[in-house]
Symmetry: C2
Subunit: 372 residues, 2 copies
C-alpha cells in the first residue's frame, strides 16, 4: 500500500454507496474505471477469512456498464467478443475476452444480453466504451453507446442466499450461475444476477438509479445483521487462491486470452467472426510462447507486490509474477505469473525477485490446490 | 480528500519517479491513466504559492503517450483531431480536442508530431488508445498503435529556465511555447518541450527509458537546490485560477469543445475532415445550449468539491459546478461551471449547493481576473 490518501473528484468518482462503506471500516481504496473501489477493510487476511465463512456487501459500482443499444447491437457485441454471442439470450451473462486484431486483450467483461437489441458489457478496468464507439463509427453501425447510471452492488459469501432471500424473496435464490432476472424492491424493478468476483458464491445487484443507493444498502445491511454481514470488497488473497485473473494486473493488451488460460471462453470453432480471431487461430497453430501459471514463493510472508516481479531459472529470465500475496489458508506466498511456455511446467523450481530479494519458488497449475 | 490510502499494483502503476516523490513530502495521490499521479504535497495553498514564486519538479508520468506509427499515421491523427494536423511539423506540439461523432469529447491531448509517420498523443485521463485502435482496425489503416515507455517529468514555475539551463545547457531556454527538441543528458538524447499543466511556464521532459528516472530526478534536484525547488504537481488552485480545464472533471463525453470554450482549437474552416466535425458545425449553427463559465462562490472558504455541485437561479436548475476551490490570491472560492447558455452571463447571480448548503454565487468570464 502506498500509504498516501487518494483525492476524490468528479474524475475519480465516488459511488452511490461511498458514504456507507467509508463508515463501515474501509481502510484502503483503489481506482477502477475512473471510480473509487474499496480495496481493504480490517485487513486483507481478516477480510478473506470472513468472506469465506459469512457474507459481505461490496460496493462494486466501479464495474461500469457499456451499453450498446439499437438495431446493430448484437452485430457489434458479436464482433467484439471471443465468446460466441450470436445466440446469446436475454437473462444470461457471458464472461468474454475482448481482443484487438493482434489477439491482445483490452478487457474481459461479462456481456449481459438484456434484450435482442440491448447488451451491457460489465467491464474490467479499461475504457472499452471507446473501442466500441470507434468500431461503431467506422463501420457505420446503427447503435447508441453509453454508460448508463448503473451501479452494481455485490453480496458475496456462503450466507449470501439467506440475506438476499430476506430482502428480495426466496425466488432470488433460484437464479442459476451467471443468470439474471428482475426482482421488486420498494416498488422498483432491480436486475439481479448470480455472479461476483469471488469463488464464495453470491449475487450482483445492478442498481439502475444512483439516488436509491443508500436505501438499498441500508435494507440489505439490516437483513445481514443476523448473518454477521460486513462491508467487504474483492479480496486479493481470495482471488489469487481461486485463480481469478485481474485485467490490468495479470493480463494486459500484451497478452492473448490463450496465454491467460481463457481458451474455453474463446469459441474459435463456432464459426462466428470476431476481432482477433485470426490472430488467436494463428497463435494456437504456432503454439504459445508464454502462459499464465501459479507460483509458490518460498521464504517469509510477503506484502502484496505492487509491480511485476522478475522470474529466472538459473539466472535466465523466464517471465514475471503479476500478482502475489501471502495466503494464510495455504500458509504460503501465492503468485500468478506469466512465464515462457517452455519453462511453464508444474513443479519446476524458479527464482522470483521481490524488492531486490531473490526467493526460491515453484511453478504450479491454476487454480491452486492445497497440499500440492 | 477521502483520507483513505490507495493501493499501488501493476494495474494502478507507480512511476519511474515514485520513490523520490514519496520521499519529498507527498501528501496525496490521484490516479490518472491507470497510474499514480501526485495530488498534493505541503498543502494545496502552500504548493500553489511556492509554484508561483519558485520552481517545482513534477512527476507527470501519468501523461501517457499514444504512439501512432506507420504510413497512415498522419491520416489517423488528422481524422481524430479537431485541430488541423494536416500540416503539423516535427518539433511542434498541438493541443487538440478529440471528439466522438456526436461532438462529445473523449480526450484533449497534446499531439506531438515526432516525424512524418510518427505521432504521439500526450493524453488526458481516458484510454484514447482504444479509440485510435478501433478506428485503425475498422478503416484498415497501416499503423501500429502502442503505449511507449515514455514518462514525462515537468519542471514548472518562474525559475524553470534557470534550473533547466543548468542541467541541459542554455539552449533549452530558447524553446518556444509548445515546441520541442532534443537535448543530450549523460549521453542520452532527451526530448524536451516548453509546455506543462500550469500557467507559470516551464518544460516537460519526455523520458524515454524508465530505468533512467531516478538519475534524471536526482540531477535536476541537485541543480534546483539554489532555486528553492520543491517536488510538486498540477495544482488545483492554480489551474482553476488560470481557467485550465481538466478532462473528466470539467469536460466529459457529454460536452463538446465548443461548450468548453475550446473553439479556437477546432479548425472548422480549414477544410480538414475529422470525426465530430459535422456535429460541431451543426451545434455552432444552432447555438450552444450550455457553456463553461467561472463562478465566484460566496461565503466561508470551501474544501475542494468532490462531485458536481448543482446551480440554480430562483430555484430553477441552470447547470452545475464541476471543480471548485478556495483561492488565497483572490480571497474567493472559485469554481468552473457548465451552465445553460441563456443564463451564462457575466455578473449574473446564482446559487450553488455544496454539501447540502446553498451559497450565493456570481457567474464570471474565464480566465478569472482579480478585482472583478
Amino acid at each position: 500500500m502506498s500509504g498516501f490518501p487518494v483525492f476524490a473528484s468528479r474524475r475519480v468518482r465516488s459511488t452511490p454507496f461511498s458514504a456507507r462503506i467509508e463508515a463501515s471500516g474501509l481502510s484502503a481504496y483503489t481506482v477502477y474505471n475512473h471510480m473509487l473501489l474499496p480495496a481493504s477493510f480490517a485487513s486483507l487476511e481478516e477480510d478473506c477469512a470472513h468472506l469465506k465463512r459469512a457474507v459481505q456487501i461490496w460496493d462494486v459500482a466501479a464495474e461500469r456498464q457499456v451499453q450498446i443499444k439499437g438495431r446493430d447491437a448484437r452485430k457489434l457485441a458479436v464482433m467484439m467478443s471471443a465468446r460466441d454471442l450470436t445466440k446469446a439470450v436475454p437473462g444470461k451473462g457471458y464472461y468474454t475476452p475482448i481482443c484487438m486484431a493482434n489477439g491482445g486483450m483490452l478487457n474481459d467483461p461479462i456481456a449481459l444480453c438484456i434484450a435482442d437489441d440491448l447488451f451491457w458489457f460489465s467491464i474490467a478496468d479499461s475504457d472499452m466504451l471507446l473501442w466500441a464507439a470507434g468500431l461503431a463509427h467506422a463501420y457505420q453501425l446503427e447503435v447508441e453507446i453509453s454508460e448508463p447510471d448503473v451501479s452494481p452492488l455485490a453480496i458475496q459469501g456462503p450466507l449470501a442466499n439467506q440475506v438476499m432471500a430476506e430482502v428480495f424473496g426466496e425466488a432470488v435464490t433460484a437464479l442459476k450461475f451467471f443468470a439474471f432476472d428482475y426482482f421488486t424492491w420498494r416498488g422498483h424493478k432491480l436486475m439481479i444476477a448470480r455472479s461476483g468476483w469471488s469463488k464464495q458464491g453470491g449475487f450482483e445487484i445492478y442498481l439502475h438509479d444512483s439516488t436509491l443507493g443508500l436505501q438499498l444498502w441500508d435494507d440489505i445491511w439490516e437483513a445481514g445483521k443476523e448473518y454477521d454481514m460486513r462491508a467487504g470488497c474483492p479480496n486479493l488473497i481470495e482471488r489469487i487462491e481461486g485463480g481469478l485473473l485481474s485485467y490490468g494486473n495479470d493480463m494486459t493488451r500484451e497478452d492473448t486470452p490463450l496465454e491467460c488460460g481463457l481458451e474455453k471462453f474463446c469459441q474459435l470453432e463456432s464459426g462466428h467472426e470476431f476481432i482477433g480471431k485470426q490472430a488467436l487461430l494463428n497463435q494456437r497453430e504456432a503454439g504459445l510462447k508464454k502462459r499464465i501459471m501459479g507460483v509458490h514463493i518460498h521464504g517469509d510472508k510477503i506484502a502484496p507486490i505492487t509491480k511485476i516481479a522478475p522470474c529466472t531459472i538459473q539466472g535466465q529470465t523466464c517471465g514475471f509474477v503479476t500478482s502475489a500475496v501471502y495466503s494464510p489458508d495455504f500458509d504460503l506466498n501465492l503468485g500468478l505469473a506469466m512465464l515462457a511456455s517452455e519453462q511453464a511446467e508444474n513443479g519446476r523450481q524458479i527464482e522470483v525477485e521481490i524488492d531486490g530479494q531473490r526467493r526460491p519458488a515453484m511453478i504450479c497449475e491454476l487454480p491452486f490446490k492445497k497440499g500440492k
